[in-house]
């Protein structure tokens, strides 16, 4: 095929386009942080997961140590069953506890890991049962209402 002066300009155009794609992949989508590292899968039971979504972060001390891989329902215990992909670099004791937290007031929900004190570490396939559910605003409000109603009633009783 004969060369032409268009070769240079078309080459530049294609390179600019590809550079833009690479820029978007690296800077906007942060390709480098995609984790291809090995993980181990553990499961956990929660009474209530609130608004937790798949791919939500698992953090310990604020550092991301894993991701939520899947959410399903256990119809024998009537609890939510969460699969967690934990980063293989980080080990946690077997009696670690999990709780569902919210980043900021309106932020997304994530799972916080609090390390326990056991000698053995969590391994693939382990099940964590010491969990704390998500805070459900409706339950909090109804609790508060019942408490204040009880408080309002008790001095009345005491007076009589």
């Amino acid at each position: 095929m004969e060369r032409s002066k268009n070769d240079l300009w078309v080459g530049l155009f294609v390179m600019i386009g590809l550079a833009a794609l690479v820029f978007l992949a690296l800077q906007a989508a942060n390709l480098l942080s995609l984790n291809f590292q090995s993980t181990y899968r553990i499961t956990a039971q929660f009474d209530n997961i609130g608004g937790l979504k798949p791919k939500a972060a698992v953090r310990s001390g604020g550092v991301v140590v894993g991701r939520v891989a899947g959410i399903s329902f256990d119809d024998e215990r009537y609890q939510a069953r969460i699969d967690l992909d934990m980063d293989a670099r980080f080990k946690f004791p077997k009696d670690s506890s999990l709780k569902i937290l919210t980043s900021g007031l309106l932020g997304e929900q994530y799972i916080g890991v609090e390390a326990g004190a056991a000698e053995d570490n969590l391994a693939a396939g382990d099940n964590v049962t010491s969990t704390q559910s998500a805070v459900v605003l409706e339950n909090l409000i109804s609790q508060f209402l019942f408490n204040s109603a009880a408080n309002a009633a008790s001095p009345d009783k005491g007076g009589k």
């Binding site: 268009n6 155009f13 294609v14 590809l18 833009a20 906007a28 989508a29």
Partner: protein, 260 residues
């Protein structure tokens, strides 16, 4: 008025179906010509130069201003909720998912689609296609297929340029002008943009729009009446049809991609 006569309705239906069938056969013919077209890549290269390089300026400038405006509007709304740092995420997601592919396709229809239609229509009215057929050269393979495949190659690249320049435009307004923290700007963006579901789907959209716009432009040019008036009408129809089809197709693709 006799438009309601059954025979007229039947004729109109038959003609519409024939047009659709002709368009579909034309489309498959262009798709089937991928091999022969790539074997003579110099034709495609010249079309990439014509469609791509000359559209680069309008795409980059539009992307910059769309990025500016998105950042300004996004900052105004987000700062009411105390999350002005999310402006980077908002700019990136709106560009990658919707505005990048759609606005690029609309600009591409106006900038490159019209010139394709006018060129093909004028070649047809000058009976150049008949002359080629006399020389045993297939005009669809020689003239139309290279333009079709060049358009499909060019659109994703132009969209990527539009998106990248738009993100930079959003950065220019947010960080140096308004004073959003640069670390939060990028980290919010990187935390919220997914490489496959956002960037990847945007690329798929831009390829689909490239096929749509280029095909509409070529078909309108090829079917144009070989008169000055016919070419003018075909050029107008290219812009109208391509824009409407891009917007409709965008709704369908968005419904398929982002509504799980």
């Amino acid at each position: 008025m006799s438009w309601w006569r059954p025979s007229d309705v039947g004729f109109a239906t038959r003609r519409a179906l024939a047009d659709v069938g002709y368009a579909a056969r034309f489309f498959w013919r262009l798709v089937a010509l991928l091999g022969p077209t790539l074997r003579r890549f110099s034709l495609v290269r010249d079309q990439i130069h014509f469609l791509g390089n000359y559209s680069l300026a309008i795409i980059a400038v539009s992307g910059l201003f769309v990025g500016f405006v998105l950042a300004l509007q996004g900052y105004n709304i987000l700062q009411r909720y105390g999350s002005a740092e999310a402006v980077g995420l908002m700019v990136a997601l709106s560009l990658l998912r919707e505005l990048g592919p759609v606005v690029t396709a609309l600009l591409f229809a106006g900038r490159a689609g019209t010139s394709l239609t006018a060129e093909i229509g004028l070649m047809k009215s000058g009976e150049q296609f008949s002359a080629m057929e006399m020389m045993a050269v297939d005009p669809v393979q020689r003239i139309i297929a290279p333009r079709f495949w060049a358009g499909i190659i060019v659109m994703p690249l132009l969209t990527a340029v539009f998106n990248a320049v738009g993100v930079l435009g959003g950065w220019i307004v947010s960080v140096p002008m308004i004073g959003v923290d640069p670390g939060a700007f990028w980290s919010q963006m990187q935390g919220g943009v997914d490489i496959f579901s956002d960037l990847g789907n945007g690329v798929i959209k831009s390829v689909a729009f490239g096929i749509t716009v280029t095909f509409v432009a070529l078909l309108q040019g090829y079917m144009a009446k070989p008169t000055a008036d016919g070419v003018a009408r075909a050029t107008t129809r290219t812009v109208v049809m391509a824009s409407l089809m891009v917007l409709g197709l965008d709704f369908l693709l968005t419904a398929l991609m982002f509504s799980y």
